[in-house]
Each structure stands twice: as structure tokens, then as C-alpha cells.
């Protein structure tokens, strides 16, 4: 069974890009459009990997990651942050919240695929 990935981003453009790029590489994709929705969808679909944006309404990426790491079920799920931000401060905060890795937007589909396989072989 191919890996199931949940993508969380408030931009439909990014969600579509991720879905297109990653489906082509054999991943199954589910998506959510903000942090709160992402949390809900995580519990529903229990994906192998989460890719989340940081700047989102309702619940931002940091809060989402923190909430997930607080749930036993998602303690070890790899979480990649996909954001246009790249400040060390933000990355440190994501790491602290429990993110596995950080990828800067815009993303290269092949490299993203490689990164996913790196944390979720």
C-alpha cells in the first residue's frame, strides 16, 4: 500500500500542487485547509506523514504540530513543514513544536518526494 500523506495548507493552489506532484510519485494524498481542519483530518485518516504549512487561519502550523505531538497516536508520525518562511527562528520553533523537517516553498517535486521517502520510507 502506498504511503498516505495529509497535506494542510490554506492555499488551494498549494494543496493542488502537492496533490498533483505527489500523486504522480505514487503517494496517496488527503488534504485539509487550515490547522484546525488538519487536526480533525489527522484523526480521521491517520496518515503516514503530515505536510503542513505554518501561516494558516484558525490554528497555525506550530499549534497543529504541538497538538499532534500531544496525542500518543501521532507522537512518532513524521511531520514536514512546508513554508515560504526560512528564518532560523521559525525553524527552531517548528523543531521545538515537534516537526521532523522543514522544506521551503516553492518546492521541487522530486526533492520533496525524496525528502518524504527520507523520513517515511
Amino acid at each position: 500500500m502506498s504511503k498516505l500523506i495529509l497535506t494542510v495548507d490554506d492555499s488551494a493552489t498549494i494543496r493542488m500542487l502537492l496533490k498533483t506532484a505527489l500523486s504522480a510519485q505514487g503517494f496517496r494524498i488527503e488534504s485539509a485547509n487550515d490547522g484546525a481542519h488538519g487536526l480533525e483530518r489527522m484523526r480521521e485518516v491517520k496518515p503516514d506523514l503530515l505536510i503542513t504549512d505554518i501561516n494558516m487561519p484558525k490554528m497555525d502550523g506550530f499549534e497543529l504540530i504541538e497538538a499532534l505531538r500531544g496525542e500518543a497516536e501521532f507522537k512518532a508520525t513524521p511531520i514536514l513543514v512546508l513554508s515560504t518562511e526560512f528564518s532560523d527562528e521559525k525553524k527552531a520553533r517548528a523543531r521545538e513544536a515537534g516537526a521532523t523537517g522543514w522544506i521551503t516553498k516553492p518546492f521541487d517535486a522530486d526533492k520533496l518526494g525524496a525528502a518524504i521517502r527520507r523520513v517515511c520510507p
Binding site: 498549494i14 485518516v45 503516514d48 515560504t84 525524496a114
Partner: protein
């Protein structure tokens, strides 16, 4: 892929326009003093999203500009930059350029000149308030190419780069060895930190990946490995030494450590001659590498193996689906349902089909006796059809806020231009209207606001002299009334100068000099073609568009524009817009044997006049006495020049209610029945004719015209009067 790409790009531009509307609204709010964190965060997110998508499609100019814009917004958000009036004004101007950038990216045309604005944004970033602590985004890891032909593209430089967590600190300065001879291989020492397995990381995966690149494990240091009793399966204790062939690129090796915890230790060294050891050199077999790793692996794998549930797409009720942008804005308001983007043309097609369904339903109810209708459960079918229709219509509905959102901004510019002070009060922004209507009322709305500021609101001195507050007020409101959306733009300015308007109309030959017009008729003249009271075309309002264009735009939408004015107190423009362009409840009436549809919305009652109940008060006006009151009566047939109608006692008078005229009686020959009809627009086929709102197909296949009650009862009527002469045009 390319089709998909185009499609996604289409979504991107759609999101851009939504984002721009949000940003504009937020910036305007900021400019008028609302600098709450929610507002600022909303603007930031909107610009941030535009930036995020632009990079993906290679719109570098847009990317560069939105990036710099975002940096400043981020500074405001973080409190490093104080949103003073001046800074808000710069942000608003930057917004304009951002809009131009989006438009340029969409049309593929030359990006706007933004050097000056970029400079101003930089000034803000470097400003005194930011002096102590430079914005974190400024020292971007990307080398800043001063400016290539596309301008500044800081993020693009990152495109090819993975940005690992804290990779840099553990990197070994390999360049020190540059003069060394071609290495024979790589030596890698990997010492994961104790907590390296937190955050879903798995150091063993790095080892596995290196192995897949040809790495051999040359040693494992298990000195730190505790006894089983003390072992914490969630911690790392081992250190690996690996050897890789020289053919492997250094960067590929580094990439493997992308997601390794920052306090882990990674050494990568070139080796002159690497001895790639055979397996028997290994201290022990990897699979039995001590309890730690396999246990940890288990804890990772377990949840992942849980069978993933595919959740059925939960399409939320009606309107929710159609307005992701609005929803995103509704902070915490309502639960987040899942949304799905649908091509608008598909919705239109659906709407059309529902329309056909309604017509078929009408035909059935025409042809079947009431008993047969019950037998085939036609009423139930009609009820369902009506529900489908409501739902489909709500799919296209969006809050009118989208159209209102650009008003504050425009007012601000107008104030700067005219020196007048104006306060905006808005109500009913959440009123939902068909998307097509929203898209088309932007221009008329804009123009009416301009008109109100230019001509309605007086200068501060004039206002004070008239005993009014120094600041003028424009009230912008929207509400749903029956099947119409009423949008009002009311100002508390000087009102229409009727003497001047009439003089000008006579001068321009719009009305004959000897005409005697009512106040309402004079007010309506400002919408007559070729009429413009603006002696000088101001920089802002003058785009050569008069109120006549506004009016015809509104009418082309199936709407109606009314003007009421009280000298010294102000003017109100009222747009009555159709809620949808689809279906209405109507009464089939006959005029000279022809069938017409009279919308039921405004109908109060029908009266069969007794002889003498309808009386002439002048050669051209009649009234009906109804329960002691006299109401004006209009003979609809005559208004359309369909010959003289029957005497009143052989006719029916339908009492309708109208916004401006109150209750009025419309005289028709007979009433056939009541019917839901699908509105077919006339605009493509017939010139908009005042008094007619559209056409429909009746149950028997015949075509009937739909009467526009408001036009019928308004002072101008449908024909004959001077003021009307050019207005239908």
C-alpha cells in the same frame, strides 16, 4: 501535466483575487485605525499566500515584490514596525502595485515598475523602529543578487535548496581540504543526539539511506548504550562510522542528514584511501543492533500501519462550499467543513438544468388534473425541485462583503484627493448574493460612491456653515428583501440641486424647456445619457463614465436604480438587484389576450373593482378607493401601448407594494394562475426595455414576458414621459 498545471494556475489566480480583496479590506481597516492583530494577520496571510503560489508558477516579479511586501507586513505583525498613518498609506500603495503585479502575471504582460515602492518598503524595514533588531527575514540565507533582469528574487534562490533544520552547524568545512588530491572516498561519522528520535525522526533511516548509496558501516560505537534495564527505547545511544565511495556527491550525503536533529553530530570527511571493509569487520550484525533501534522502529511503525480510512468527501451545505475565502476570514465562526472548488460553468449548467426541471414541473401541473397530480405525487416532486433549486442557487451565493471591501480604500483616496472628510458606515456585508451579481456591481458601486463624495458631500467649511458635523457620512448597506437584494448608498450631503439639474437637462436637450417635471423625475435625470453635472472631471471620479452607464449596468443585471434626494439632507442611491438570475414566483396575467408574468414578490392583494371604485383624478391619472384610502392605479395594457383596456369593472386591479411609491394598483384584464417561472434574460435579444424584466417559457411552451413591477409603478412609468425618452437606452 500541463493541463493540470494550467488548471492549478487558474486556481492560483482565483486565490490571488480573493487574497487581494482580503488584503485591501484589512489594509483599509488598518488605515482607519483598526490595527488589531487579527486584521494585521489577515493581511499578512493574504500576501503570504500570493507569494507562496507565485514561486510555484515562476512569476518571479510577483514573487519578488510580494516577498518584500510580506517582510514589512511581518514586521508590523511582530510589532517591530508601528503601523502609523504614513506607513499604512505606503502599504496601501504597495497593495496597488501588488494588484498590478498579479494582473501582469495573469495576463503575461510586463510587470509594473516597482523600484520606487521596493525602495520605500525597504526604508520602512530599515526604519528607526527596526534599527535595533533587523527583520529576521532580511539576512536571508540566500545570497541577495542585487537585481537581475527580473528584479529581486530572494526566495527563488532557495528554490532548489532544501532547507534542513540546523544542518549548517554540523557541516564540516570540507573546503579546507580543497587542494587535496582527488579523494578516494568519504568517511562519515554520525552521532545522533539522545533525543534524535523525537519529532518522528528515525536516525536509522539515515544509515539505511546512506547504505543505499553504497555506504558500508565501518564501526558502531556502543559505549553509551546502557543496560537493558536502563534503556529508554525513545532515545539514541549509538554512533556510526560509515565509508562511502568517492563517486558519491558530497551534497547527496549531506542531503541524507536533512532532517536530523540539530544537536546530532555529523562529520563528513574526504579520505585519501578508504578501506571499504568487508562485512565481517562489523562488530555485530545490524539487524540485531541492540534493543534500542528495533523497538523504536516498532513505535513508529505501529500507528502508521493502522489502516488508513478514506473519508467520504463531506460536501457541506450549500453556500458554505462556494466561499472558501469568506470562510477563512470567519475566524472561529462555524466549523470548518470541507470545501471543493468547482468550475463556475458547471454550476451554471446545473442551474440551467434545474430551470428546465422547473419548467417541466409546470408543464405537468398544467396537463394533469389535481387528482392526477396527487396520484403521481407531483406536489412532492415540486417541493424537491424547489429544494434543489434553492441549494444550487446558494452554491453561487457569496457575501456581498466582497464587493464592499474595496470601498474604504477608495474613500480614503477620495478624501485625500478632495480634502473632504467622510466616514463610512456599512451594514449587511454578510448578505449573500449570486456571484455573478457581486462581480458586476463593483463598478456601479464604485461610481456611486465617487459621485456621493464628489457631488454629495460638501466641503468641511460648507458643512459647518450648514450646521452639520464637519465629517460627512456615507452609509452603505445591503439587505435581502424578497427575491431582491437592496443595496443603498446614502450620503448626508447637500442633496441634488434640482434647479441646476433641470437647467442642465434643458440646456443639453434632454428635456424640453417647457417641461414640468416632478422632483423624482428631475432626480432621475442625472441618470439620463449625456447628462453630467460635473463641470470638471476630477482625477478620481472622472473616467468619462456617467450615471447613465451606472444605471444601464444595473439594469443589465436585471436590477433597478432609484435616486431619492432631500435638499440639504442628502441623496440615496438604491440598487435593487435580483438575488439570482434564475427563478421567480409569478402570476400569469392577461393584457389584450397576451399573457405576462407578474412577479408575486410585491403583490399585496387583488381587487375586482365595483363600478365607480376606480375614478379618474385627471385625464391621465386614476385612483382606486380601497377601504377608505385612495391608491393610484395604472392601466398596464395602456402603458405598453396595447390599446385601451376594458372598463375597470371588467378588469382586475392588483395591488402591489413598492419601495418608493408605496401601494399602487396595476390594472390587468384577467389573472390566469400562479406559476413558478424560469427567468430568461432579454438582454441578448431585446434592448433592455423599461417595464419588462425578462421572459419565460410557460407550461404550454409559449413565451411570456415578465413585468417589472417597480418600473411599472415608478413615477416614470414605462413610456411617454420625457425623462424616460433616453433612459431605456
Amino acid at each position: 501535466m500541463s493541463d493540470e498545471f494550467d488548471e492549478i494556475q487558474g486556481i492560483f489566480f482565483e486565490e490571488c483575487s480573493e487574497g487581494l480583496a482580503v488584503a485591501e479590506e484589512g489594509l483599509s481597516a488598518m488605515a482607519s485605525g483598526d490595527v488589531s492583530p487579527d486584521v494585521i494577520a489577515g493581511v499578512f496571510r493574504a500576501v503570504h499566500s500570493i507569494k507562496g503560489g507565485s514561486g510555484a508558477f515562476g512569476h518571479n516579479a510577483l514573487l519578488g515584490f510580494s516577498h518584500r511586501f510580506e517582510n514589512v507586513l511581518d514586521g508590523v505583525r511582530a510589532g517591530r514596525i508601528e503601523p502609523t498613518d504614513d506607513i499604512c498609506q505606503v502599504l496601501l500603495n504597495a497593495f496597488d502595485i501588488l494588484s498590478d503585479h498579479v494582473a501582469a502575471a495573469q495576463s503575461g504582460s510586463e510587470p509594473p515598475a516597482d523600484d520606487d515602492m521596493l525602495h520605500r518598503l525597504d526604508m520602512i524595514l530599515e526604519g528607526p523602529s527596526a534599527g535595533a533588531a533587523p527583520a529576521p527575514a532580511a539576512p536571508a540565507p540566500a545570497p541577495e543578487p542585487a537585481s537581475d533582469e527580473f528584479g529581486f528574487v530572494p526566495v527563488a534562490a532557495q528554490v532548489e535548496d532544501f532547507d534542513p533544520f540546523g544542518f549548517e552547524p554540523v557541516a564540516v568545512a570540507i573546503d579546507d581540504l580543497v587542494p587535496a588530491p582527488e579523494p578516494a572516498g568519504w568517511m562519515v561519522r554520525f552521532a545522533p543526539s539522545r533525543g534524535a528520535m523525537a519529532n518522528g525522526s528515525e536516525p536509522l533511516l539515515v544509515v539505511r539511506e546512506l547504505e543505499s548509496m553504497g555506504a558500508r558501516i565501518t564501526g558502531v560505537d556502543r559505549e553509551k548504550l546502557p543496560s537493558l534495564a536502563e534503556l529508554d527505547p525513545e532515545e539514541s545511544y549509538l554512533v556510526w562510522d560509515l565509508a562511502l565511495p568517492a563517486s558519491v556527491e558530497e551534497q547527496d550525503i549531506r542531503d541524507c542528514f536533512d532532517f536530523v536533529a540539530p544537536d546530532s553530530k555529523v562529520d563528513i570527511e574526504k579520505e585519501e584511501a578508504v578501506v571499504v571493509p568487508s562485512a565481517d569487520v562489523l562488530p555485530f550484525d545490524l539487524p540485531t543492533l541492540g534493543a534500542a533501534e528495533p523497538v523504536a522502529l516498532e513505535t513508529i511503525a505501529a500507528p502508521a500501519e493502522a489502516s488508513p480510512t478514506v473519508v467520504a468527501l463531506d460536501l457541506p451545505k450549500g453556500s458554505e462550499a462556494a466561499k472558501p475565502a469568506a470562510k477563512a476570514k470567519a475566524q472561529g465562526g462555524g466549523e470548518s467543513g470541507q470545501t471543493i472548488r468547482v468550475d463556475l460553468s458547471k454550476l451554471d449548467q446545473l442551474l440551467n438544468l434545474v430551470g428546465e426541471l422547473v419548467i417541466r414541473g409546470s408543464i405537468l401541473s398544467d396537463r394533469l388534473s389535481p387528482a392526477d397530480q396527487e396520484r403521481v405525487e407531483l406536489p412532492e416532486l415540486s417541493r424537491l425541485t424547489r429544494q434543489i433549486q434553492d441549494n444550487v442557487m446558494s452554491l453561487r451565493a457569496q457575501p456581498i462583503r466582497q464587493a464592499f471591501s474595496r470601498v474604504p480604500r477608495m474613500l480614503r483616496d477620495l478624501m485625500a484627493e478632495t480634502g473632504k472628510k467622510v466616514i463610512l458606515e456599512t451594514t449587511g456585508e454578510t448578505t449573500e448574493v449570486d456571484k455573478g451579481v457581486i462581480e458586476k456591481i463593483g463598478d456601479p458601486l464604485t461610481h456611486m460612491i465617487r459621485n456621493a463624495v464628489d457631488h454629495g458631500i460638501e466641503s468641511a467649511e460648507e458643512r459647518l456653515a450648514a450646521g452639520k458635523p464637519e465629517e460627512g457620512t456615507i452609509y452603505l448597506s445591503a439587505e435581502q428583501k424578497g427575491a431582491r437584494i437592496i443595496v443603498r448608498i446614502r450620503d448626508d450631503g447637500r442633496g441634488i440641486n434640482r434647479a441646476r439639474v433641470l437647467a442642465k437637462a434643458v440646456e443639453r436637450g434632454i428635456v424640453p424647456a417647457e417641461a414640468s417635471l416632478s422632483d423624482e423625475e428631475i432626480d432621475a435625470l442625472i441618470c439620463a445619457p449625456g447628462f453630467s453635472t460635473a463641470e470638471t472631471i476630477s482625477n478620481i471620479s472622472g473616467r468619462g463614465v456617467g450615471m447613465d452607464v451606472v444605471r444601464s449596468n444595473v439594469e443589465a443585471l436585471g436590477g433597478r436604480l432609484e435616486i431619492t434626494s432631500v435638499p440639504g439632507e442628502g441623496t440615496t442611491f438604491t440598487m435593487a438587484l435580483p438575488l439570482t438570475l434564475a427563478i421567480l414566483d409569478g402570476m400569469i396575467v392577461r393584457l389584450a389576450e397576451q399573457r405576462f408574468v407578474l412577479p408575486l414578490t410585491n403583490v399585496i392583494e387583488t381587487v375586482q373593482p365595483e363600478p365607480g371604485q376606480v375614478q379618474a383624478t385627471s385625464p391621465s391619472t386614476e385612483v382606486i378607493e380601497l377601504r377608505g384610502k385612495y391608491l393610484p392605479v395604472r392601466r398596464v395594457g395602456e402603458m405598453f401601448g396595447m390599446g385601451s383596456s376594458r372598463p375597470p369593472e371588467e378588469s382586475l386591479v392588483i395591488i402591489v407594494e413598492n419601495e418608493s411609491s408605496g401601494h399602487v394598483g396595476l390594472m390587468v384584464d384577467t389573472i390566469d394562475n400562479r406559476r413558478e417561472v424560469v427567468i430568461k434574460s432579454l438582454e441578448d435579444n431585446l434592448h433592455p426595455i423599461r417595464g419588462l424584466g425578462g421572459a419565460t417559457i410557460l407550461g404550454d411552451g409559449a413565451i411570456a414576458l415578465i413585468l417589472d413591477i417597480d418600473a411599472l409603478v415608478s413615477a416614470n412609468g414605462v413610456g411617454g414621459k420625457y425623462a424616460v425618452k433616453g433612459m431605456a437606452a
